[in-house]
């Protein structure tokens, strides 16, 4: 099954070095010209730039909202808690296509022009619930008596947050940051509907492939991007496993939450 999952990508990567405009066997020769072509293509670069820019803005906002939501749902008891939890969990359940279509109509109705901003705003909307799930899973496993100990030793409530609670959720925050960034960067469906004429990297790939059969520079840039993403996930894994020494660690719930979110 690993073959099924990664085989096609290996093939794609292999062809990115193929010295032929036709993506078919046999191999014609080794070349890196697709890579230089790709990195010189202005539309492609614009798409990459936009995707990165949006992702860099979306990630901190999602972290903030997601952490607030996680705190709201796990650390207090109040009547509306179930409602808040349901509300925050809802975007994880609704297919993105529907959110995208709805958002398009929504912005149109409010006469908000479609732009990178509308893309970003909707990315945050679907990303921060995932952050909330991951951070929440970590918060729930927090022993409140440690907080009591901190209070008893003279720490005021905000010092407790700063010195005790936040360090505890730090690994979850790091993991969420990476997932939120990927969510935004890889997002196609929502960007497609709410971006108007703006170009992001996935949208560029889609348009290019819609109109042409197989394009070698797509191979090249895809290989590059995939390598970066694999490296990033590995780094994230290392980070979260490394913090085991300080009482951190990868939660099964976090992984499950991530996987559930990825399906959307």
């Amino acid at each position: 099954m690993v073959f099924l999952l990664y085989g096609p990508l290996v093939v794609l990567a292999a062809f990115s070095f193929n010295d032929s405009i036709v993506i078919a066997l046999p191999f014609e020769g080794f070349t890196t010209r697709w890579y230089s072509d790709a990195l010189a293509n202005p539309l492609l670069l614009e798409g990459l730039r936009n995707s990165l820019a949006v992702a860099f803005v979306v990630t901190p906002i999602s972290l903030l909202l997601g952490t607030l939501a996680a705190f709201a749902v796990t650390r207090f008891r109040y009547r509306l808690r179930g409602g808040v939890a349901g509300l925050v969990g809802a975007p994880l359940v609704v297919p993105w296509l529907l959110v995208g279509v709805g958002a398009l109509m929504f912005f149109n109705r409010l006469q908000v022009p479609l732009s990178l901003r509308t893309i970003g705003v909707m990315h945050v909307t679907v990303a921060f619930p995932l952050v909330a799930a991951i951070v929440g899973a970590r918060l729930v496993r927090f022993d409140r008596r440690i907080e009591e100990a901190a209070l008893d030793l003279g720490a005021q409530p905000r010092e407790v947050l700063r010195f005790i609670v936040l360090p505890h959720v730090a690994p979850a925050l790091a993991a969420s940051a990476i997932f939120a960034f990927s969510y935004s960067f890889n997002n196609f469906v929502i960007s497609f509907f709410t971006g108007g004429f703006e170009l992001t990297f996935p949208i560029w790939v889609f348009s290019t492939l819609r109109h042409a059969q197989n394009v070698p520079i797509v191979n090249a840039i895809s290989t590059l991007v995939s390598i970066v993403q694999v490296v990033v996930v590995l780094v994230a894994w290392r980070l979260s496993v490394g913090s085991k020494r300080r009482g951190g660690g990868v939660d099964a719930d976090a992984v499950a939450g991530v996987l559930a979110g990825q399906v959307r």
């Binding site: 909202l65 650390r75 109040y78 492939l209 991007v225 996930v233 996987l259």
Partner: protein, 297 residues
């Protein structure tokens, strides 16, 4: 004395609800506006007459159309067909794999494989779809290899731009999410049970049928919940590898909304899918809860 304490407790309670609001309000308001808003608008729009002619007004025609017009019915049937076949294929493959992963693989590799699943999900979906498109074409790797090995004489055209290609890509995309819940359910089984069955003389197939499948059932249940309905709204995959025969609801929605300007119909189809998703998710949530209660009793 008691009054003073009651007042102190009331003051503390007020401080707490202030804090709760500070945490809960921003995300809630954001979602109510930017998530609830669009979805509410979908609902409203689905009852609107919207077309290129510019006519407006309330109507039930949209829903009538999508449920009676043969074109739409065909598309919906196509979608159901593709998704159901994909789901079936995935389940058939996922159960044995989940079994192997849960019982026959060493712990070190288990973690590694889980990691590989997570990573597969992080890859850009469009890249994945494109990679398959390369593989399945006339001159693609699959055809070339099959010809070279001698299984076929001429390239199979039907590998690309057909329903089959959509099924292949969908299945390979969603297989990790199908396998994981089943794996999780099987992990909860004590290996002693299998040994006991063996000891009592049961052959592998019987064990499988009578013991493993029922135990894996909750996992299968969850897998269907998290995978089946999302597949219905797939749009990029059929657009890129489906050709004309692999046309699904997602494509129809996109076409109606972005190209034909028929927002009413697009919204009606979307809202129908939305309702389906919510109902299935709700049932799944209940089902999972009930099973958890059963498991603990």
């Amino acid at each position: 004395m008691a009054v003073a304490s009651a007042r102190a407790e009331a003051r503390a309670a007020a401080k707490v609800s202030g804090r709760v609001a500070a945490y809960a309000l921003p995300p809630s308001i954001w979602l109510l506006v930017l998530f609830g808003g669009p979805l509410a608008l979908l609902l409203w729009m689905s009852f609107q007459l919207r077309s290129i002619t510019g006519a407006t007004g309330y109507t039930l025609d949209n829903y009538a159309t999508i449920f009676t017009d043969p074109t739409y019915l065909k598309v919906m049937w196509n979608t159901v067909l593709i998704c159901t076949v994909s789901m079936a294929v995935m389940l058939i493959v996922a159960v044995p794999i989940a079994y192997l992963l849960a019982f026959r693989v060493r712990p070190r590799y288990e973690l590694l494989l889980l990691l590989m699943f997570v990573m597969a999900g992080e890859l850009n979906p469009l890249i994945r779809i494109y990679a398959w498109r390369i593989m399945l074409g006339r001159e693609g790797v699959v055809n070339s290899v099959l010809q070279a090995v001698g299984v076929i004489d001429a390239p199979i055209d039907a590998l690309l731009f057909t329903r089959l290609s959509v099924v292949i890509v969908l299945a390979t995309t969603y297989i990790p999410y199908t396998t994981i819940p089943i794996y999780a359910a099987l992990k909860a089984v004590e290996p002693d049970l299998l040994e006991a069955a063996n000891d009592l003389g049961s052959r592998l197939t019987t064990t499988f049928r009578k013991l493993l499948l029922p135990l894996a059932a909750p996992g299968i249940f969850v897998a269907i919940i998290i995978v089946y309905i999302p597949m219905f709204s797939e749009f990029a995959t059929p657009a890129l590898v489906g050709g004309t025969s692999g046309y699904m609801i997602g494509n129809a929605i996109q076409e109606q909304v972005l190209e034909a300007g028929n927002w009413g119909i697009g919204a009606a189809m979307s809202f129908m899918l939305l309702t389906l998703s919510v109902v299935v998710a709700f049932l799944g949530y209940r089902g999972a809860k009930i099973r958890r209660l059963e498991a603990s009793s």
